[in-house]
């Protein structure tokens, strides 16, 4: 009886640790909610930046920087690349870099950046 009580207590402690930290299954739900809130705030900041009247080149730079931050946040945290095997990152980012490179070259051929 005393042994069973001890086992039950240790099980409860382990469950409490898992529920609080989500150690067995990655980050906790609360962490993801906070990330989503941060992404929503960044989106709001982006929209406000277009309304404020900052000169066009700087607005574009600011929006692109925020876009990249949001992109990397979703890929590394929501898509779990941060905690997964690096081969997955290699596959995805290779495709991404190839895509960006090819289409930057294509746009340059059409003199997009000269205008």
């Amino acid at each position: 009886m005393a042994t069973n009580t001890a086992l039950d207590t240790s099980h409860d402690d382990a469950h409490h640790v898992d529920a609080h930290h989500g150690d067995d299954h990655g980050p906790s739900d609360r962490f993801f909610v906070m990330v989503a809130v941060a992404l929503a705030i960044m989106t709001l900041v982006e929209v406000l930046a277009t309304e404020v009247g900052i000169p066009a080149p700087w607005t574009t730079v600011f929006l692109l920087v925020l876009m990249v931050i949001k992109f990397l946040t979703v890929t590394s945290l929501f898509m779990h690349l941060k905690w997964d095997n690096k081969l997955f990152s290699l596959l995805f980012y290779t495709g991404l870099v190839l895509s960006v490179g090819v289409y930057v070259v294509a746009l340059a051929c059409f003199q997009f950046f000269a205008g």
Partner: protein
């Protein structure tokens, strides 16, 4: 002796999970299904890269009809962007619930994700019909063609995602998913998050960056 047997069984179970449950063996030690999904997403970057760069080229080519500045309703599109962002949150909550073997919460979050995705598609359809009524058809100008093609392809991706989500919910209700349920939900989650990150780019490049 019995502890060693238990440890071996636990290790085998962990390996079983790492190798994608009941999926095929992989030379890399990783799930073939997950590798294939990442490879697909990497290739889908090339598709959307082409569509986005074509839009960037043709955005200023307004031979007739309205131009972007007179058309876009940023507050409305911001709300639909927020909806899609929240669907990414509910999707990741579904994945964590699936990993905890909490089937009920998995179904709830998957259904919520599907509803939010459907709401986003509905907002896109409303936006398209609004633009069409204001004179921007698919063949009106190069801007119109590239805009509708880009956002239309994205909308189709979202729609396919919604269908997949609802299908998985239905199959979960019947308890018929073979292998590791968590991996199935995770794979759909990867697709859904990809759709969201493409929209992050589209929203910025198409709607926010001044033309």
């Amino acid at each position: 002796m019995s502890d060693a047997v238990l440890d071996h069984a636990a290790a085998a179970h962990d390996d079983h999970d790492d190798h994608g449950g009941h999926g095929a063996h992989s030379a890399t030690g990783l799930s073939n299904n997950k590798l294939a999904m990442w490879l697909f997403l990497g290739s889908d970057c090339l598709l959307f890269g082409g569509l986005i760069s074509t839009y960037m080229l043709y955005r200023g080519r307004v031979q007739e009809g309205p131009n972007p500045n007179s058309l876009y309703n940023i507050p409305f599109t911001s709300v639909s962007s927020f909806v899609l962002l929240m669907s990414s949150l509910t999707m990741v909550l579904a994945v964590t619930a699936a990993k905890r073997r909490d089937d009920r919460r998995t179904r709830i979050w998957l259904t919520t994700t599907a509803l939010l995705g459907a709401a986003f598609v509905g907002a896109q359809v409303f936006e398209f019909t609004s633009f069409y009524r204001r004179g921007l058809g698919f063949t009106t100008s190069l801007f119109g063609s590239s805009f509708y093609t880009l956002t239309g392809f994205h909308g189709v991706h979202v729609t396919v995602g919604v269908i997949m989500l609802l299908s998985v919910v239905a199959i979960l209700l019947r308890g018929r998913i073979p292998g590791d349920k968590a991996e199935v939900v995770e794979l759909i989650g990867l697709y859904w998050h990809f759709v969201d990150i493409v929209w992050i780019i589209i929203f910025t490049v198409v709607y926010l960056i001044p033309s």
